[in-house]
Protein backbone atom coordinates (compact mmCIF):
# COMPACT_ATOMS: atom_id res chain seq x y z
CA UNK A 1 0.00 0.00 0.00
CA UNK A 2 2.80 2.39 0.94
CA UNK A 3 4.54 1.63 -2.35
CA UNK A 4 1.40 2.52 -4.26
CA UNK A 5 1.05 5.82 -2.43
CA UNK A 6 4.72 6.58 -3.10
CA UNK A 7 4.29 5.81 -6.79
CA UNK A 8 1.26 8.10 -7.02
CA UNK A 9 3.15 10.89 -5.21
CA UNK A 10 6.12 10.51 -7.59
CA UNK A 11 3.77 10.69 -10.57
CA UNK A 12 2.06 13.81 -9.20
CA UNK A 13 5.46 15.43 -8.51
CA UNK A 14 6.72 14.58 -12.00
CA UNK A 15 3.56 16.00 -13.61
CA UNK A 16 3.80 19.17 -11.49
CA UNK A 17 7.49 19.57 -12.38
CA UNK A 18 6.66 19.13 -16.07
CA UNK A 19 4.16 21.97 -16.00
CA UNK A 20 5.90 24.25 -13.47
CA UNK A 21 9.39 23.94 -14.97
CA UNK A 22 8.93 23.57 -18.73
CA UNK A 23 11.95 22.78 -20.89
CA UNK A 24 13.42 25.41 -23.21
CA UNK A 25 11.75 23.71 -26.16
CA UNK A 26 8.37 23.82 -24.43
CA UNK A 27 8.87 27.52 -23.59
CA UNK A 28 9.66 28.32 -27.23
CA UNK A 29 6.66 26.35 -28.46
CA UNK A 30 4.43 28.20 -25.97
CA UNK A 31 5.83 31.54 -27.21
CA UNK A 32 5.13 30.54 -30.80
CA UNK A 33 1.53 29.62 -29.93
CA UNK A 34 1.15 32.93 -28.09
CA UNK A 35 2.56 34.84 -31.08
CA UNK A 36 0.03 33.12 -33.35
CA UNK A 37 -2.78 34.04 -30.96
CA UNK A 38 -1.69 37.69 -30.67
CA UNK A 39 -1.31 38.12 -34.46
CA UNK A 40 -4.73 36.56 -35.13
CA UNK A 41 -7.73 38.86 -35.36
CA UNK A 42 -11.27 38.13 -34.33
CA UNK A 43 -14.00 39.39 -36.65
CA UNK A 44 -15.12 42.14 -34.27
CA UNK A 45 -11.89 42.89 -32.43
CA UNK A 46 -11.92 46.32 -30.78
CA UNK A 47 -9.05 48.74 -31.32
CA UNK A 48 -8.02 48.46 -27.65
CA UNK A 49 -7.97 44.65 -27.81
CA UNK A 50 -5.92 44.79 -31.02
CA UNK A 51 -3.42 47.22 -29.46
CA UNK A 52 -3.06 45.00 -26.38
CA UNK A 53 -2.42 41.92 -28.49
CA UNK A 54 0.10 43.73 -30.70
CA UNK A 55 1.99 44.97 -27.62
CA UNK A 56 2.09 41.39 -26.28
CA UNK A 57 3.32 40.12 -29.66
CA UNK A 58 6.08 42.76 -29.56
CA UNK A 59 7.19 41.50 -26.14
CA UNK A 60 7.89 38.09 -27.66
CA UNK A 61 10.38 39.56 -30.16
CA UNK A 62 13.83 41.00 -29.63
CA UNK A 63 14.64 44.63 -30.41
CA UNK A 64 15.66 44.80 -33.21
CA UNK A 65 14.20 41.82 -35.01
CA UNK A 66 15.38 40.76 -38.46
CA UNK A 67 12.75 40.09 -41.11
CA UNK A 68 13.57 38.51 -44.48
CA UNK A 69 10.97 38.11 -47.23
CA UNK A 70 12.75 37.74 -50.57
CA UNK A 71 9.62 38.03 -52.72
CA UNK A 72 8.94 41.47 -51.22
CA UNK A 73 12.62 42.40 -51.27
CA UNK A 74 12.67 42.83 -47.48
CA UNK A 75 15.83 41.91 -45.60
CA UNK A 76 16.59 44.17 -42.67
CA UNK A 77 16.30 44.76 -38.94
CA UNK A 78 13.02 46.14 -37.62
CA UNK A 79 12.89 48.18 -34.41
CA UNK A 80 10.19 46.99 -31.99
CA UNK A 81 7.96 50.04 -32.66
CA UNK A 82 8.22 49.51 -36.40
CA UNK A 83 7.46 45.81 -36.02
CA UNK A 84 4.38 46.34 -33.85
CA UNK A 85 3.14 49.06 -36.24
CA UNK A 86 3.38 46.57 -39.10
CA UNK A 87 1.53 43.88 -37.10
CA UNK A 88 -1.21 46.39 -36.27
CA UNK A 89 -1.47 47.43 -39.93
CA UNK A 90 -1.69 43.77 -40.97
CA UNK A 91 -4.47 43.17 -38.42
CA UNK A 92 -6.41 46.09 -39.89
CA UNK A 93 -5.89 44.86 -43.45
CA UNK A 94 -6.77 41.27 -42.59
CA UNK A 95 -9.56 41.26 -39.99
CA UNK A 96 -10.92 37.84 -39.11
CA UNK A 97 -7.64 36.07 -39.87
CA UNK A 98 -6.18 33.22 -37.87
CA UNK A 99 -2.50 32.34 -37.60
CA UNK A 100 -1.40 28.83 -36.69
CA UNK A 101 2.01 27.18 -36.69
CA UNK A 102 2.40 23.54 -37.73
CA UNK A 103 5.18 20.94 -38.00
CA UNK A 104 7.62 22.93 -35.89
CA UNK A 105 11.09 21.58 -35.29
CA UNK A 106 13.53 23.21 -32.89
CA UNK A 107 17.31 22.84 -32.79
CA UNK A 108 19.72 24.37 -30.30
CA UNK A 109 23.03 25.18 -32.07
CA UNK A 110 24.15 27.17 -29.00
CA UNK A 111 23.04 27.21 -25.36
CA UNK A 112 21.22 30.52 -25.73
CA UNK A 113 20.11 30.21 -29.33
CA UNK A 114 17.38 28.14 -30.97
CA UNK A 115 16.65 27.65 -34.65
CA UNK A 116 13.09 26.81 -35.63
CA UNK A 117 11.56 25.68 -38.87
CA UNK A 118 7.80 25.83 -39.04
CA UNK A 119 4.83 26.21 -41.34
CA UNK A 120 2.68 29.29 -40.85
CA UNK A 121 -0.91 28.80 -41.95
CA UNK A 122 -3.22 31.76 -42.42
CA UNK A 123 -6.96 31.28 -42.73
CA UNK A 124 -9.42 34.10 -42.96
CA UNK A 125 -11.91 36.09 -44.91
CA UNK A 126 -11.52 39.08 -47.20
CA UNK A 127 -14.94 40.64 -47.81
CA UNK A 128 -16.96 37.46 -48.43
CA UNK A 129 -14.18 35.27 -49.81
CA UNK A 130 -12.41 32.79 -47.55
CA UNK A 131 -8.69 32.34 -48.11
CA UNK A 132 -5.97 29.94 -46.96
CA UNK A 133 -2.26 30.64 -47.28
CA UNK A 134 0.79 28.79 -46.01
CA UNK A 135 4.44 29.75 -45.72
CA UNK A 136 7.54 27.95 -44.54
CA UNK A 137 9.39 30.02 -41.95
CA UNK A 138 12.85 29.83 -40.53
CA UNK A 139 12.93 31.53 -37.13
CA UNK A 140 15.73 32.25 -34.70
CA UNK A 141 15.10 32.65 -30.97
CA UNK A 142 17.63 33.98 -28.46
CA UNK A 143 17.58 33.56 -24.69
CA UNK A 144 17.83 37.09 -23.34
CA UNK A 145 17.68 37.60 -19.54
CA UNK A 146 16.09 34.17 -19.13
CA UNK A 147 13.35 34.74 -21.72
CA UNK A 148 13.25 33.23 -25.19
CA UNK A 149 12.67 36.05 -27.70
CA UNK A 150 12.29 35.69 -31.45
CA UNK A 151 15.15 37.54 -33.13
CA UNK A 152 14.66 36.74 -36.80
CA UNK A 153 11.96 35.53 -39.17
CA UNK A 154 12.64 34.55 -42.74
CA UNK A 155 10.25 33.14 -45.31
CA UNK A 156 11.70 30.09 -47.08
CA UNK A 157 10.96 30.40 -50.80
CA UNK A 158 11.14 26.80 -52.00
CA UNK A 159 9.11 27.27 -55.17
CA UNK A 160 11.00 29.10 -57.88
CA UNK A 161 9.11 30.39 -60.90
Amino acid sequence: MNKKILLVLILIAATAAFFLFPSDEKKIRNNLDSLAEYCSSASKETAIAALKKVALAGKLCSDPCMIQIESFDIHRDFKKKELTDHILMMKKMLPDTHFTFHDTTINFPLDNRAELTTTLRLTGKIDTDRFTEAYELSITADKIDGDWLFSSFSVVEFMEQ
Binding site: D103, T117, T118, T119, T132, Y135, F158, M159
Partner: protein
Protein backbone atom coordinates in the same frame (compact mmCIF):
# COMPACT_ATOMS: atom_id res chain seq x y z
CA UNK B 1 -27.89 -18.65 -29.96
CA UNK B 2 -30.80 -16.47 -31.00
CA UNK B 3 -30.46 -13.98 -33.80
CA UNK B 4 -31.20 -11.01 -31.50
CA UNK B 5 -28.42 -12.17 -29.14
CA UNK B 6 -25.97 -12.27 -32.04
CA UNK B 7 -26.90 -8.74 -33.03
CA UNK B 8 -26.63 -7.54 -29.44
CA UNK B 9 -23.18 -9.15 -29.09
CA UNK B 10 -22.05 -7.65 -32.39
CA UNK B 11 -22.92 -4.09 -31.37
CA UNK B 12 -22.23 -4.45 -27.63
CA UNK B 13 -19.49 -7.06 -27.22
CA UNK B 14 -18.29 -7.99 -23.77
CA UNK B 15 -15.06 -6.19 -22.85
CA UNK B 16 -12.86 -9.24 -22.57
CA UNK B 17 -9.10 -9.41 -23.19
CA UNK B 18 -9.49 -10.72 -26.74
CA UNK B 19 -11.83 -7.89 -27.69
CA UNK B 20 -9.56 -5.23 -26.15
CA UNK B 21 -6.46 -6.57 -27.91
CA UNK B 22 -8.31 -6.49 -31.24
CA UNK B 23 -9.43 -2.95 -30.51
CA UNK B 24 -5.85 -1.86 -29.72
CA UNK B 25 -4.54 -3.58 -32.87
CA UNK B 26 -7.18 -1.85 -34.98
CA UNK B 27 -6.42 1.54 -33.41
CA UNK B 28 -2.67 1.15 -33.94
CA UNK B 29 -3.13 -0.03 -37.54
CA UNK B 30 -5.37 2.95 -38.32
CA UNK B 31 -2.85 5.33 -36.73
CA UNK B 32 0.09 3.92 -38.70
CA UNK B 33 -1.78 3.72 -42.01
CA UNK B 34 -3.41 7.14 -41.86
CA UNK B 35 -0.34 8.91 -40.44
CA UNK B 36 2.40 7.46 -42.60
CA UNK B 37 0.96 5.72 -45.67
CA UNK B 38 -2.41 7.10 -46.68
CA UNK B 39 -2.65 10.61 -45.32
CA UNK B 40 -6.15 12.13 -45.44
CA UNK B 41 -6.24 15.53 -47.15
CA UNK B 42 -8.89 18.19 -46.68
CA UNK B 43 -8.48 20.55 -49.60
CA UNK B 44 -8.71 24.25 -48.86
CA UNK B 45 -8.46 26.74 -51.67
CA UNK B 46 -9.35 26.93 -55.33
CA UNK B 47 -6.00 26.42 -57.06
CA UNK B 48 -6.77 22.84 -58.23
CA UNK B 49 -10.32 23.44 -59.43
CA UNK B 50 -12.17 21.83 -61.09
CA UNK B 51 -10.20 18.60 -60.39
CA UNK B 52 -10.21 19.16 -56.63
CA UNK B 53 -12.67 21.73 -55.31
CA UNK B 54 -12.46 23.76 -52.14
CA UNK B 55 -13.60 21.60 -49.21
CA UNK B 56 -13.20 18.31 -51.04
CA UNK B 57 -11.41 15.29 -49.64
CA UNK B 58 -8.61 13.05 -50.94
CA UNK B 59 -5.72 10.91 -49.74
CA UNK B 60 -1.98 11.28 -50.18
CA UNK B 61 -0.51 7.86 -51.05
CA UNK B 62 3.07 8.13 -49.82
CA UNK B 63 4.62 4.98 -51.33
CA UNK B 64 3.48 6.10 -54.82
CA UNK B 65 6.96 7.14 -55.92
CA UNK B 66 8.94 4.43 -54.13
CA UNK B 67 8.98 2.21 -57.20
CA UNK B 68 7.97 4.61 -59.97
CA UNK B 69 9.12 7.91 -61.38
CA UNK B 70 7.17 11.14 -61.30
CA UNK B 71 5.42 11.64 -64.62
CA UNK B 72 3.95 14.66 -66.34
CA UNK B 73 0.35 15.41 -65.29
CA UNK B 74 0.70 13.55 -61.96
CA UNK B 75 -1.05 15.31 -59.08
CA UNK B 76 1.33 15.43 -56.15
CA UNK B 77 1.50 16.77 -52.62
CA UNK B 78 4.34 19.19 -51.87
CA UNK B 79 5.35 19.58 -48.24
CA UNK B 80 6.35 22.65 -46.29
CA UNK B 81 8.07 21.58 -43.04
CA UNK B 82 5.95 18.51 -42.42
CA UNK B 83 2.89 16.64 -43.52
CA UNK B 84 0.18 18.58 -41.70
CA UNK B 85 0.07 21.39 -44.25
CA UNK B 86 0.82 20.59 -47.89
CA UNK B 87 0.27 22.01 -51.35
CA UNK B 88 -1.64 20.03 -53.96
CA UNK B 89 -0.25 20.65 -57.46
CA UNK B 90 0.07 19.06 -60.88
CA UNK B 91 3.46 18.25 -62.40
CA UNK B 92 3.70 19.85 -65.86
CA UNK B 93 7.43 19.68 -66.60
CA UNK B 94 10.22 17.26 -65.70
CA UNK B 95 13.94 17.88 -65.05
CA UNK B 96 15.80 19.38 -68.02
CA UNK B 97 12.64 20.36 -69.91
CA UNK B 98 12.01 23.93 -71.05
CA UNK B 99 8.52 25.21 -70.36
CA UNK B 100 6.65 28.38 -71.16
CA UNK B 101 3.11 29.73 -71.22
CA UNK B 102 1.86 31.70 -74.23
CA UNK B 103 -1.62 33.17 -73.87
CA UNK B 104 -2.41 30.52 -71.25
CA UNK B 105 -1.24 27.62 -73.43
CA UNK B 106 1.53 25.38 -72.10
CA UNK B 107 4.56 24.68 -74.27
CA UNK B 108 7.21 22.11 -73.35
CA UNK B 109 10.46 22.18 -75.36
CA UNK B 110 8.64 24.42 -77.84
CA UNK B 111 5.74 22.01 -78.43
CA UNK B 112 2.17 22.81 -77.43
CA UNK B 113 0.82 20.54 -74.73
CA UNK B 114 -2.90 19.88 -74.38
CA UNK B 115 -4.20 20.08 -70.84
CA UNK B 116 -7.72 18.65 -70.78
CA UNK B 117 -8.00 19.12 -66.99
CA UNK B 118 -7.79 22.93 -67.33
CA UNK B 119 -11.29 24.38 -67.54
CA UNK B 120 -10.69 27.96 -66.44
CA UNK B 121 -7.99 29.71 -68.42
CA UNK B 122 -6.65 33.25 -68.53
CA UNK B 123 -3.89 34.42 -70.86
CA UNK B 124 -0.86 33.60 -68.73
CA UNK B 125 2.47 34.53 -70.27
CA UNK B 126 5.65 33.07 -68.85
CA UNK B 127 9.01 33.28 -70.61
CA UNK B 128 10.78 29.98 -71.37
CA UNK B 129 12.72 28.47 -68.46
CA UNK B 130 14.56 25.23 -67.91
CA UNK B 131 13.69 22.90 -65.02
CA UNK B 132 16.75 22.20 -62.87
CA UNK B 133 18.01 18.65 -62.31
CA UNK B 134 16.25 17.03 -59.35
CA UNK B 135 13.31 19.41 -59.68
CA UNK B 136 9.87 19.29 -61.28
CA UNK B 137 7.63 22.17 -62.31
CA UNK B 138 4.25 22.18 -60.60
CA UNK B 139 1.17 24.32 -61.12
CA UNK B 140 -2.51 24.24 -60.15
CA UNK B 141 -5.30 23.32 -62.58
CA UNK B 142 -7.17 26.56 -62.00
CA UNK B 143 -5.62 29.06 -64.40
CA UNK B 144 -8.61 31.36 -64.09
CA UNK B 145 -6.83 33.45 -61.49
CA UNK B 146 -4.17 36.03 -62.20
CA UNK B 147 -0.72 34.50 -62.59
CA UNK B 148 0.60 36.76 -59.82
CA UNK B 149 -1.96 35.31 -57.39
CA UNK B 150 -1.24 31.69 -58.24
CA UNK B 151 1.48 29.74 -56.46
CA UNK B 152 3.52 27.66 -58.88
CA UNK B 153 7.09 26.95 -59.88
CA UNK B 154 9.82 24.37 -59.73
CA UNK B 155 10.29 22.41 -56.53
CA UNK B 156 12.89 19.97 -55.38
CA UNK B 157 11.62 16.39 -55.79
CA UNK B 158 12.60 15.72 -52.17
CA UNK B 159 9.66 17.93 -51.19
CA UNK B 160 7.14 15.70 -52.92
CA UNK B 161 5.47 13.56 -50.30
CA UNK B 162 3.46 11.30 -52.60
CA UNK B 163 0.68 10.90 -55.12
CA UNK B 164 -2.99 11.68 -54.63
CA UNK B 165 -5.93 9.27 -54.48
CA UNK B 166 -8.46 9.54 -56.08
Amino acid sequence: MEFSDKIRRFFFPSLNRRYLSRLIFLGLSCYLIFSYLLIPLRIQGHSMEPTYGNGSFAFCWRPHYLFSQIERFDVVTVRFTGKNVMLLKRVIALPGEVLEFRQGILYINGKQILEPYVQYRTPWDLAPRKVKPGHVYVVGDNRGTLMSRHRFGQVNMARIIGGVIP
